[in-house]
Amino acid sequence: MKMLTILAGLILVFGFVWERVDTIRLGYQVERSKAQKLLLERERDQLQVRFSSLTAPERIAKVATERLGMVQPQQGQVVTVHVRPEGVPAPSPSPYEVRVAKNDSPKRLSE
């Protein structure tokens, strides 16, 4: 009985120590993962900035005209063809749906 109590005590102590050590080990691991996440986020942001600057209309126009020898289309050279699958309603005259904020009904100036 005495031996069992000592054994149980030892297991408890060992378990407690192991849990503490493992917590610290996991803590370091989490910190490393966090640091890696931070680095990856930084890299993503750097790539995003680079992508945005490379796709700037000014740069694209410069490359198109100076390097590729392209020119602005002249009158009549652009024909817009609207192809609409069957069953799809006609587009609105405005490219952007106009929803209006709810406020008081518009006042008429001369009123």
Binding site: R42, D45, A101, L109
Partner: protein, 570 residues
Amino acid sequence: MGPSRPRRYVVLILLLCGFGLILFRLVTLQVLQAAELTAKADRQHQKSVTFEGARGAITDRHGKVLAMNMEVPSVFGVPTALENPLRVARHLAPVLHIRSDEIEKKLRQDRSFVWVARKVLPEQGRQLEQMSLDGIGVVMEGRRFYPKGPLLSHVLGFAGIDGEGLEGLERRYEPHLHGEKRITILQRDALGRTVFPKGLAEQPPAPGHGLTLTIDEVVQYIAEKELEEAVNRAHARAGTIIVLDPQSGAILAMAVSPRFDPNAVAALTPDRWRNRALTDTYEPGSTMKMVVAAAALEEHLMTPGTMVFGENGRMLVANTTIHDHEKLGWMTFAQMIQKSSNIGAAKTGMILGEQRLYRFLQGFGFGQKTDVDLPGEVSGLLKAPKEWGRRSLASISMGQEIGVTPIQMVTAAATLANGGVMMKPYLVSEVRDQKGHLLREFLPQVKRRVVSPETARTMTTILEGVVTNGTGTKAAIPGYRVAGKTGTAQKIDSRTGTYSATQFVGSFVGYVPADAPRLAMIVVIDEPQGEAWGGTVAAPVFRRVGEQVLNYLGVSPNDQVKLAMAAQGR
């Protein structure tokens, strides 16, 4: 046999002395110096760090990034830990591109922390980390980047070194854009690593919210490119273009020349980043006739066919002479606008009378802010009728004695384009969190009805005549119906206080396609050299921007018929 009694006493005394010393040291450390040593240990094991969530990004209407934050290195020094500041400064100078004497001056300060260089390039930070100089450290800080360079710079504004918005949208939307600031205590081990992940239970500081603009970066680019070319061609002082959707008031482009790069504002003066589209007033000249004519039509005082006598180019008003640019006789009201007759406009204003004219000027938004969501907007200059002189009625009708901003004038034109209903111009359509969840949506806002749909339609027909037969023929876009009005105003000479004979503002304001407007646009060229007529310097810019933007939006010349039919069916 045990040790002798005296020897035992010696050992006992030695042991007592030893324990006494240990006890004394313990009391000294644990009691007497407890507070001081605890603080010292905390300084070594704990690190107070201010975390700030990243500033929100700004994107155009299609999600193209116009401004965003990126973590970059900042270099700091610990002067108290430096033995030879001169040597360290000489190592740093070629990497940071700062003079070594400037760095040395910073490192010789009697402080425990100094910034040597903030927000440098990532490559510079890597080089410094490799050099591993004692007393010099590198930390990461968020830096604002504007990847498109000068594009939209006057609207975006810029953020300061500490990440706070100082100008433009960066300033106006500071409460939304800035990230959360939080001070956190980190525990460190002997190697300086963070020991316990205190952050496990804590969320990192929240980043700022992102803004989605109504701006279209391609339309903005077209406007800036054409404006820059026009300003250079005319050797002008400055220029402004605003393009907006008249149905909603959404601003598609706001270009100001000369431009600036918000990534490098340190060397610039505020004059360079001032957004002239809403901070600078000018006398509009003949573009104001559009407003006066609309008022006369709305009040049924005139019809397009009403005959007006042009007084053969000269008319006396309040002991002063009003001139027209050509000798005009009898003409219809519509022709009067198309030929931009000063005398005809003055007569129309006199028929309207002071109170009615003033009411319509207010109705079209002059003398008050448009409430566009940018800081620094001015109200312009519109005096109350009781302050008007004997000539004021005639002068204001011709666009003199009144100060307007480009945003006010384009909003007035957009009102006619929108069937007489004025929409509030706006730049930000959405605020979203970092995960893309919509937090706030800004919808188009009706300000008021200014004139009836009939008046707006009649004005459109008259303004189309300006482009087909009048002073604005150079604004014509082949295949599209354009409505607009030219304006040429003399500037006040600051030395003499009278109208200058050499300084002008040439402008054109209009909309296209006239029958189902997709774009309302103003072009203002400030102090063009040589020929300064609005029809010569500004109207061609309207045409070039208009045809490219319509092309980009996919409004082919044929579409206008379909759009007109759709508009009628609404």
